[in-house]
């Protein structure tokens, strides 16, 4: 895998010419070679190291879950007012992370943002892995996990059904739908690229494995025709879906009566926060990945800059939402509401609130400056800070509101236990392990889509040259006649 020495700076904003989405000298052949090379070549040492660490951390998750199943949720730091602890915080955190993938793959597709093709595959993969991590927590937080199937409307001899008026059940449907649709969308995008890997395979095993999942794709234009249509429809379906998912997640809180939760701003505020954290996670993953796997030509500085702009925008929306919440608490003249927000900022959890605001509102403001937006080191650090901040946002919302709800006699301070902490850390192990395996065994960049964009831009360039030539000719003709 050859690498370009330095990042080619394609972040210029020159209205007379398009900045290239693929840097370096490329044609269809080299695009294929480079992207398939990641899967076909030997993995770099650092990949093995990262996988070893991630897998070890993931095993922590397994141990913690086993301990939880044996001993029950008493091993967590839950207490009487705080009956929703880290499990829900982690759930909201992970679901939120997933949103960037769908935003990139579906919403940017509808907006015809061609730069998305460089990053959509890995972002969608990230979505799926994040939702897997998210789904874990509500699954195990019910205590007796062997009754998890009661979440689904299963006919049973007791005529006992889920309560469909409960937001928690809406959540079950929203998250499951989200996971399923994301998976279908992702897999559909993968099929033509899997066919490429099948066709390039040199070993029987590879050929069989990729061939099986490629479904016999032969690049037929009659197939492409319906494929593109299906892709557009899925994008159009995924767009309202992704907005609905975090809205429904926020209903878990907003539909309840707890002061600090019972607000109508929650759905848009949660969605903005989700996109914010999701983009940060995409950057956290892709900045090292493009370096390690030599994909700088496809995941360029411009991609990073664009994502930073999204982070800046959504971070500011989140900041505005924090402010609005406080304003409405004051304006509502509801003493419980007012107390909840005073308590959030100055109560026992002031430190968490401080972390949240400084990470989520202040940090992204550096991206007003182009120098910071296009510096991958600063971006990488900022993306991690944003992730920390967004975890704390959920912590603040959930824990601070619950720990001091209605009756002061019931208030209690919440302490996580080691099981809480290690389970959360372990979920990162699961996430990273899945992502590393993805990088190694599946094409990280959507080849067919990159090729399409590449050829479209090439045609455009060609047409522009022709038009310019014609114009020049016309101008000459004019001169000649005058």
């Amino acid at each position: 895998v050859s690498e370009t020495a330095a990042d080619f700076n394609n972040t210029f904003d020159d209205p007379t010419r398009r900045s290239p989405l693929i840097t370096g000298e490329h044609d269809l052949t080299t695009i294929t070679d480079r992207i398939c090379g990641v899967v076909e070549g030997k993995p770099p040492t650092i990949w093995w190291i990262a996988l070893a660490i991630s897998a070890s951390v993931m095993s922590l998750l397994g141990l913690c879950l086993a301990y939880l199943f044996i001993c029950g949720t008493g091993t967590w730091g839950l207490n009487n007012p705080v009956t929703w602890g880290w499990a829900i915080v982690n759930f909201v955190f992970w679901v939120g992370i997933g949103h960037a993938g769908t935003l990139i793959s579906a919403i940017l597709f509808l907006f015809r943002q061609k730069w998305r093709t460089g990053i959509n595959r890995s972002a969608e993969a990230m979505t799926i892995f994040a939702v897997i991590c998210a789904g874990l927590f509500p699954g195990v937080h019910i205590g007796r996990v062997w009754y998890a199937y009661y979440l689904a409307p299963m006919p049973n001899q007791m005529d006992m059904w889920p309560q469909f008026r409960s937001p928690l059940l809406w959540d079950v449907f929203a998250v499951n739908t989200y996971f399923t649709v994301s998976l279908l969308f992702w897999y559909m995008g993968l099929v033509p690229d899997l066919a490429t890997l099948r066709d390039r395979a040199t070993s029987r095993v590879r050929q069989m494995a990729y061939g099986f999942f490629a479904l016999g794709w032969r690049g037929s234009h009659r197939h492409w025709h319906r494929y593109e249509r299906a892709y557009l429809i899925l994008a159009a379906l995924a767009t309202p879906l992704v907005l609905s998912v975090h809205s429904v997640v926020s209903f878990d809180f907003a539909v309840s009566q707890v002061p600090g939760w019972h607000t109508t701003i929650f759905p848009p505020y949660f969605v903005a926060g989700a996109i914010f954290s999701g983009f940060a996670m995409v950057l956290t993953l892709l900045i090292p990945a493009r370096e390690i796997f030599g994909l700088k030509d496809f995941i360029t500085l411009r991609h990073i800059e664009n994502m930073n702009k999204v982070i800046l925008a959504t971070g500011s929306i989140v900041g505005l939402a924090y402010g609005t919440e406080f304003f409405i608490a004051w304006y509502s003249d509801n003493p419980l509401e007012q107390f909840a927000f005073r308590n959030r900022m100055f109560g026992h959890y002031w430190w968490a609130y401080l972390i949240m605001v400084s990470c989520n509102v202040i940090t992204p403001q550096i991206f007003w400056i182009k120098k910071f937006r296009t510096n991958i080191y600063i971006t990488f650090v900022a993306s991690i800070i944003v992730n920390i901040g967004m975890w704390f946002e959920r912590f603040v919302i959930i824990i601070s509101s619950l720990s001091a709800d209605f009756i002061p006699a019931a208030w209690d301070y919440y302490h996580p236990t080691w099981v809480d902490v290690l389970t959360f850390v372990g979920s990162f192990g699961l996430f990273m392990t899945l992502f590393l395996l993805f990088c190694r065994f599946l094409p990280m960049v959507a080849m067919a889509e990159v090729k399409l964009t590449y050829m479209e831009l090439k045609h455009m360039e060609h047409n522009r040259h022709e038009a310019e030539a014609l114009l020049a000719e016309a101008a000459q003709g004019k001169e000649a006649t005058s």
Binding site: F164, L169, D199, W224
Partner: protein, 352 residues
């Protein structure tokens, strides 16, 4: 749809346009091929432009038929022509064997095809690798023998594969095949080439309807599910032996009052209805697309070609299948030669 209406006129234009240069190409290509024994065989084929013109002349009235495209996808490929073909070719069937070189004649063009490529060293690398994968590739398709019914002789032609290096070449090639009236043919590209729909006469897909009905089903199912489970209770209960039989399959709903709110209210049920609508629409889109595309299909004549591996990477192909009603080995070959591709290959069942 408009394509079809244009076809007859366009057909003439295109034929006239395409024929001359391409016939030249073919000739020049053949004169270049150095194999001494071949000229006779090659000339035979080349002598056929007249024959090919006949084909076109015949095809023209039929050119109104390209409609066949979509229906074709839905019907099990017309078996009659297949049945006829072997008969028609039976006398010839000896020939291809005897004249193996003829069958391979297109391959004899390979050197010609490589000449331009020699200019781009990149393009040749993968080619050099290809032979290694030979066995794997053929092995994969080995079990495909039973795919299309009639057990075929090892060298029976399955169709032709024409390779192109540019989108433009592919498009004009597609237009020619379309105008010749073929229905069982296809273009293969590594990414969706826009503008090929017109060149191929591909009609809009019915997929959106499938999605619509999927979504409608999801919507109604979601509403019905919630109404049944939370909103109503069966007004009767079946007892006795019958009850024991029926009960597990006909559980009653259970109206559970929360905070004095109505047992069933549409507002509270919207999120689940929405999610199920999206879910079933997505299923309709995903599974509908694969269904209409008739995938998974792990065996296909084009997979017999080693070169075809580049169809998913950096080359464009047109395949004309022998199952096409208009397919006639010689005449189709003549057409294939006129398409202006850089390489022509006859698809045959893998030996061994």
């Amino acid at each position: 749809m408009t394509d079809e209406s244009k076809t007859p006129e366009e057909a003439k234009d295109d034929v006239v346009k395409d024929e001359e240069p391409k016939a030249d190409d073919a000739k020049s290509g053949d004169t270049k091929s150095d194999a001494p024994e071949e000229p006779s065989a090659a000339e035979k084929v080349l002598a056929e432009p007249s024959a090919a013109e006949k084909v076109l002349a015949e095809a023209e009235p039929k050119a109104e038929e390209p409609k066949a495209e979509e229906p074709k996808a839905e019907e099990p490929k017309a078996e009659e022509p297949k049945a006829e073909e072997p008969k028609a070719e039976e006398p010839k069937a000896e020939e291809p064997k005897a004249e193996e070189p003829k069958a391979e004649e297109p391959k004899a063009e390979e050197p010609k095809a490589e000449e331009p490529k020699a200019e781009e060293p990149k393009a040749e690398e993968p080619k050099a690798e290809e032979p290694k994968d030979d066995d794997g590739g053929d092995g994969d398709d080995g079990d495909g023998d039973d795919d299309d019914g009639a057990p075929s002789e090892p060298n029976e032609t399955l169709g032709f594969l024409i390779e192109f290096e540019t989108e433009e070449g592919l498009k004009s090639g597609c237009a020619s095949v379309r105008d010749a009236g073929y229905s069982n043919w296809d273009a293969h590209t590594p990414y969706p080439v826009h503008g090929l729909d017109e060149a191929m006469g591909v009609r809009p897909t019915i997929l959106p309807w499938i999605v619509f009905f999927g979504g409608l089903t999801g919507c109604l199912a979601g509403l019905g599910l919630q109404l049944y489970t939370n909103g109503i209770e069966l007004p009767f209960s079946v007892t006795g032996v019958l009850g024991a039989l029926v009960d597990p399959f006909l559980p009653s709903g259970y109206g559970f009052v929360v905070s004095g709110k109505p047992v069933f209210s549409v507002q509270a049920n919207i999120p689940v209805v929405f999610e199920l609508t999206i879910l079933l629409s997505a299923f309709g889109s995903f599974f509908g697309m694969w269904g209409l595309n008739r995938l998974p299909q792990f065996h296909h004549p084009v997979f017999h070609s080693e070169r075809f591996r580049r169809a998913s990477q950096d080359r464009y192909f047109i395949s004309i299948e022998a199952t096409d009603p208009l397919f006639d080995r010689d005449r189709t070959l003549a057409l294939a030669q006129r398409l202006g591709g850089t390489h022509l290959e006859e698809l045959v069942e893998a030996e061994e």
